[in-house]
């Protein structure tokens, strides 16, 4: 608890320092935090439709894209991870596809899907599926021989093998992948909205930039930072509960 307090005190202190130095420097590119907060208030609270029409759709697209990518990544990953043969066929292709920077595909998606939302979702899904997929493959492979043998000896049904053994055994790795994907989906959400869109946080940012509205630009940046922090914290809480079964001793499994 003291560490928690200490952290926030330091944080508050830094905001104060920022405020003071911004006043002193009086540089238009570095507005003081108070101005940023005021700008954010005027932008999203005084005119709530700015929030509901831009921020909410952004978050919805991002989480939906992430969820779809997660389902694809986990199911495909477990499948490939339990079949060396399938992995041999797929591996070089996956390695290459993963190496493609997703924004490079935005023009292709734009032509294929026509609507902005579908394009953005496609960009997010294509970009964030890899960490989940590759981690799931890794996790599914990490089921140790004794567990495989134990399951075989007891002749458990197929669904129990997949859901009761492979999935939980792979879950620490899967969660690591999901977390990377979540923060990546924030990045891709912004990218997909910067290119071509009718609404969204990214579009608002671009708009602010074109209007040289530095306070709003900063407000957008801070909003994205807070969003990233909140999502990560929430995910960690879920992960901690879901993986509570993990042995707490150091010598067992993953760090």
């Amino acid at each position: 608890m003291t560490k928690f307090l200490q952290r926030w005190v330091v944080f508050a202190g830094l905001v104060v320092v920022w405020q003071l130095s911004a006043w002193l420097a009086d540089n238009p590119y570095f507005p003081p935090p108070s101005d940023i907060v005021t700008a954010a208030w005027d932008w999203w609270v005084v005119e709530p439709e700015n929030f509901t029409d831009n921020v909410i759709p952004s978050i919805t697209r991002m989480l939906t894209g992430w969820a779809i990518a997660s389902v694809i990544g986990v199911s495909l990953g477990l499948l490939l991870g339990r079949s060396d043969r399938a992995m041999e066929y797929a591996n070089p292709l996956l390695v290459f596809l993963r190496s493609i920077p997703p924004p490079a595909l935005v023009p292709v998606f734009l032509l294929l899907f026509k609507t902005g939302t579908a394009t953005q979702m496609a960009t997010i899904i294509f970009g964030v599926v890899w960490p989940v997929l590759l981690n799931s493959v890794d996790g599914a492979r990490s089921v140790d021989v004794t567990k495989v043998d134990t399951s075989a000896v007891f002749q458990i049904p197929r669904w129990q093998w997949v859901l009761g053994v492979v999935l939980p055994a792979a879950s620490p790795k899967i969660f690591a992948g999901l977390r990377v994907s979540l923060s990546l989906s924030l990045v891709l959400m912004v990218i997909s909205e910067l290119v071509n869109t009718e609404n969204g946080i990214g579009m608002q940012l671009m708009q602010a930039q074109r209007e040289f509205d530095n306070e709003r630009m900063w407000a957008g940046i801070v909003l994205l930072g807070v969003l990233g922090y909140v999502l990560n914290t929430a995910f960690l809480a879920v992960e901690r509960r879901a993986l509570a079964w993990q042995p707490r001793s150091r010598d067992e499994q993953h760090a």
Partner: protein
């Protein structure tokens, strides 16, 4: 060798699927040129000096960005990882800086730095910092205290321990961070090139092909090249890691 053959079959299957999809009437014409067309365009581009200029521009900017990120993140990580007081004090800042997506800074960087290569390098550095920094800190957490004590017994000082024990033992982990950073930096780099038309770079090539003549074959040729850059970068770093820092 059989795994290699299977891998080739996998890629070939993907290309066939793409070819069929590209030629099928289901998709709007020219939206997805088949690989045969893209390959032709790719060969044509590879013999054009302008295209090489774009590739080199991206690669060079990328290497500079990774170099700068290493130069900042590794020493910072060593300090943060070995001096708990500094780590606690900066923790809040780091926790609030990290979730800010690098691309969110694009508008700000454009306003402040303009449309030159500084913008994309700065943003790529910002994106590449975090994986290296965190891997360095984690690596120091895993440091075997017996190794430190051994060094201390032989009269090695605090700074000596950091350079001669902590750094080498953390190196494999740091390297993994660098590989992650390189991939992220490439994504950011290409994004910035696409969004902020920096006149040079593979991302700019893609953007120009799309918005100008709408040449999707060029867009895809550029995309393939970007993928190959990512692939070579990752594999190259992996090789180096296996060869030089495998312990």
């Amino acid at each position: 060798m059989r795994a290699f053959t299977r891998g080739i079959i996998g890629i070939a299957g993907f290309l066939v699927l793409w070819e069929l999809l590209g030629r099928s009437p289901l998709l709007p014409a020219d939206a997805l040129p088949p690989p045969s067309v893209v390959a032709g365009e790719l060969v044509r581009q590879l013999s054009s000096p302008t295209f090489y200029g774009h590739v080199v521009a991206t690669l060079l900017a990328l290497l500079i960005a990774i170099g700068i990120a290493i130069a900042i993140a590794v020493p910072a990580g060593l300090v943060l990882g070995s001096v708990p007081a500094v780590r606690h004090a900066t923790r809040a800042v780091i926790e609030f800086l990290r979730p800010i997506p690098s691309v969110a800074l694009i508008p700000l960087a454009l306003v402040m730095l303009g449309f030159g290569p500084e913008t994309k390098i700065t943003l790529a550095v910002y994106a590449a910092l975090w994986p290296i920094l965190f891997n360095t800190i984690y690596a120091l957490d895993e440091l075997d205290s017996l190794q430190i004590e051994t060094a201390r017994v032989f009269g090695v000082g605090r700074a000596g321990v950091l350079v001669r024990v902590a750094l080498p033992s953390a190196l494999p982990f740091i390297f993994t961070g660098i590989r992650l950073a390189a991939t992220t930096a490439l994504i950011v780099m290409v994004s910035v090139e696409i969004l902020a038309s920096s006149q040079l770079g593979i991302g700019f090539f893609i953007m120009e092909a799309r918005s100008g003549p709408g040449r999707m074959d060029q867009v895809l040729a550029g995309t393939v090249v970007a993928g190959v850059i990512g692939l070579l970068l990752n594999n190259g770093l992996e090789r180096i890691q296996q060869r030089w820092v495998a312990w």
